[in-house]
């Protein structure tokens, strides 16, 4: 009996040793990163592609050994396209999952709210979709980085083309929340500075079902160009309704980056014909780097890439900064980001400006033809980025007032 007890004790001890030793031998160290975006709501499509971009970058990095010898794991959360859930989920990702990087959100309102959380918890925060202007100015903090062209970059890039090539009388129709208001402010300022005449402005709430009540005012203003700052399902509905009222043929149309995903263009090719927009990715751009990236994306997900390119690059930038800092410490990683360049982004070499943490990205102007975003001009990032204005309002003294000529 005594021998049996001893034998059992030895067996338990051996099992405990095997159990204790096993993780060290077979499981690599893990670092988690957070992907926060819209899984439902008006920007649902954008959230899905943001996640795919993150997943693709992580898969490629893990295939090369991860980052600092750690395997990267993605934790995805839905922010319901609203600031309050976005804050709650960001807190959860940081405090419960201990993510070392947070990518998101999609909606500008949600991203602005999440910036307070990432600032408070000193978490590296990359924005690759939201484009409100305040993130790299009045809301900026040292842990925040962006490779999404914001409203000011877009206005600097597109307004000149509108005034030179499309017409001087412009009506600005925007979605009435952080992103659209920001676009409206920046485009109105840029257009007026370039000699354009803004003949009217109007904002429709996010997720408006019927836009027709605004069409009378647009028609009364008789613009050359109708500039629209909407995104997601709002864009699809707006273009469908404008087209049914004959307004897509009556006016030249231009819009913001991310107005519609390439995937949506096929179903709305006719209303979108001739539409001009600034964008940082199109599968129809002959750029060799974009084509190589798109081929890999298409092989993995069976569809063309789009805004996914932004979140893909964001993860690459973060991984490169961690390797450079040789640490996950947020202060060291943030400092490593500043001024850093990465060669293998979806468009080749890109660098982060030290002052406001904005990626100096070359963008393209595209025109929709037959449901495809075809490039018509390339705009250097250095021409559109504008001066760094951390803590300041780039269009201070702005007014929505229409200046009659």
């Amino acid at each position: 009996m005594k021998r049996l007890t001893w034998g059992f004790t030895v067996l338990v001890a051996l099992a405990a040793l095997v159990w204790a030793g096993a993780p060290a031998v077979s499981q690599p160290k893990v670092v988690k990163i957070g992907d926060l975006g819209s899984k439902v709501g008006v920007f649902e499509g954008y959230g899905k592609y943001q996640t795919w971009g993150v997943q693709m970058a992580v898969e490629e990095l893990n295939a090369k050994g991860g980052v600092l010898g750690h395997k990267i794991e993605v934790v995805s959360e839905d922010d319901e396209t609203k600031p309050a859930p976005a804050v709650r989920k960001a807190e959860k990702l940081i405090l419960q999952d201990d993510v070392k990087l947070l990518v998101g959100a999609v909606s500008s309102g949600a991203t602005l709210a999440v910036m307070d959380v990432t600032k408070k918890h000193k978490t590296i925060h990359w924005n690759s979709v939201s484009c409100a202007e305040f993130m790299r100015t009045t809301k900026f903090h040292k842990y925040y980085f962006s490779n999404q062209p914001d409203s000011r970059m877009q206005a600097n890039g597109l307004a000149k083309y509108i005034v030179d090539k499309m017409g001087k009388k412009v009506y600005i129709f925007y979605t009435d929340y952080a992103m659209g208001q920001s676009d409206g402010r920046q485009f109105k300022t840029a257009l007026e500075k370039l000699g354009g005449e803004v003949v009217g402005v109007a904002g429709a709430p996010l997720d408006t079902k019927d836009f027709s009540p605004w069409f009378g005012a647009i028609n009364q203003s008789n613009p050359d160009v109708l500039f629209v700052a909407f995104a997601g399902t709002d864009s699809l509905r707006l273009m469908t309704q404008l087209h049914s009222f004959g307004m897509t043929k009556k006016y030249k149309m231009a819009g913001i980056d991310c107005f519609l995903l390439q995937q949506d263009l096929a179903s709305i090719a006719e209303p979108m014909e001739g539409f001009v927009q600034l964008n940082h990715f199109s599968p129809y751009n002959p750029d060799a780097n974009m084509q190589a990236y798109n081929a890999r994306f298409k092989k993995k997900f069976g569809t063309d890439a789009n805004i996914a390119a932004g979140s893909y690059d964001a993860v690459l930038f973060w991984a490169a900064a961690v390797e450079k800092a040789k640490s996950f410490d947020p202060d060291k990683v943030a400092e490593a980001h500043e001024g850093m360049c990465v060669d293998n982004t979806h468009i080749g070499r890109q660098c982060i400006r030290k002052e406001d943490h904005q990626v100096v990205m070359d963008m393209h102007l595209y025109q929709v033809k037959g449901g495809k975003n075809l490039p018509i001009a390339r705009i250097a990032g250095s021409d559109s980025i504008g001066e760094a204005m951390v803590g300041k309002d780039p269009v201070e003294g702005f007014t929505w007032e229409i200046k009659k000529k």
Partner: protein, 292 residues
């Protein structure tokens, strides 16, 4: 005069089109409440299912008109099965049970659609194309068709409830189901068919509005809020009240946008609902005692 013709009248037309379509959606909701005493939180999802069923039928037959018949029938059948298997066992319990059940059903329907069709938005092309010069603008023919179709449907529903034996049976069931049962009428079948009919009506509204509003899994959630406001304003269970309230909301949304920030228009409509709930809880035409 120019302002009236160029601005006010077109806005009035926009409001009428939206209000009539909203009336179709709210009518099913109010009938179910009047008959079963259940606030059907899944009604928006039945509206959404109508649009997706339409996409499926159009995909096979390439005909919107066929979809307009098949999709409501299919959703009506789903409604009938849902009523028999889930709602019927709860009729004798407190209304809260039905409320929670339909809330759960809404989640199930929405996620099922997301699994089958994905979350991307989809578009159904209008079967009536072109536009008509009207009030100094070109007005899409499909919107005029929508206004005509909604008006005819609302009239047909009114005739059904007032002139046909089946409609009178439903109204009798709303008044006193036990008495009807005592007279030998198969009341559970009346309930099932009414629920199925309301589901089909929601589906019809979903498909009719799809060419204008596009199709995506959340579309029902967003419309149902307005439909609930319509039902509360019109009077819980009052069919005529729902139609009037839908038109009031459609017109208010359209006209107030001319003078107010649209966000304030939405607030104004909610404020109106709150005032009605406080001052006259039964709504414009509701029965005395409901919500009082």
């Amino acid at each position: 005069m120019d302002y009236l013709v160029a601005v006010l009248l077109p806005q009035l037309l926009h409001g009428l089109v939206f209000g009539a379509a909203l009336g179709l959606l709210a009518l099913g909701l109010t009938v179910i409440f009047g008959l079963l005493g259940v606030m059907n939180f899944a009604h928006g999802e039945l509206y959404m299912l109508g649009a997706y069923a339409g996409i499926a039928v159009v995909g096979v037959t390439h005909s919107f008109w066929t979809a307009l018949i098949v999709a409501p029938l299919a959703v009506g059948a789903i409604g009938a099965v849902t009523e028999v298997t889930t709602l019927r066992p709860l009729y004798r319990r407190e209304p809260l049970y039905g409320l929670i059940l339909t809330f759960g059903l809404a989640l199930v329907f929405r996620e099922a659609v997301r699994q089958i069709w994905g979350g991307d938005m989809r578009r159904i092309l209008p079967p009536v194309t072109g536009s008509t010069p009207l009030l100094g603008m070109v007005y899409p023919n499909y919107r005029l068709f929508l206004l005509a179709a909604s008006s005819i449907l609302l009239l047909a529903i009114w005739l059904f409830f007032t002139k046909t034996r089946a409609g009178i049976l439903v109204r009798a069931a709303v008044q006193d189901a036990e008495m009807l049962d005592g007279l030998g009428v198969n009341v559970p079948r009346v309930f099932t068919l009414t629920f199925a009919g309301s589901a089909a009506l929601a589906a019809l509204a979903g498909l009719l509005l799809a060419p204008i509003f596009t199709v995506y899994p959340q579309m029902g959630v967003e419309m149902i809020l307005l439909a609930f406001i319509v039902v509360i304003l019109g009077g819980m269970g009052s069919m005529g009240g729902s139609v009037v309230a839908a038109l009031v909301i459609g017109l208010a949304q359209s006209l107030l946008t001319l003078w107010m920030n649209p966000q304030r228009v939405a607030i104004a409509i909610f404020a109106l609902m709150i005032v009605v709930l406080i001052v006259r809880p039964r709504g414009f035409f509701g029965r005395e005692g409901v919500l009082e």
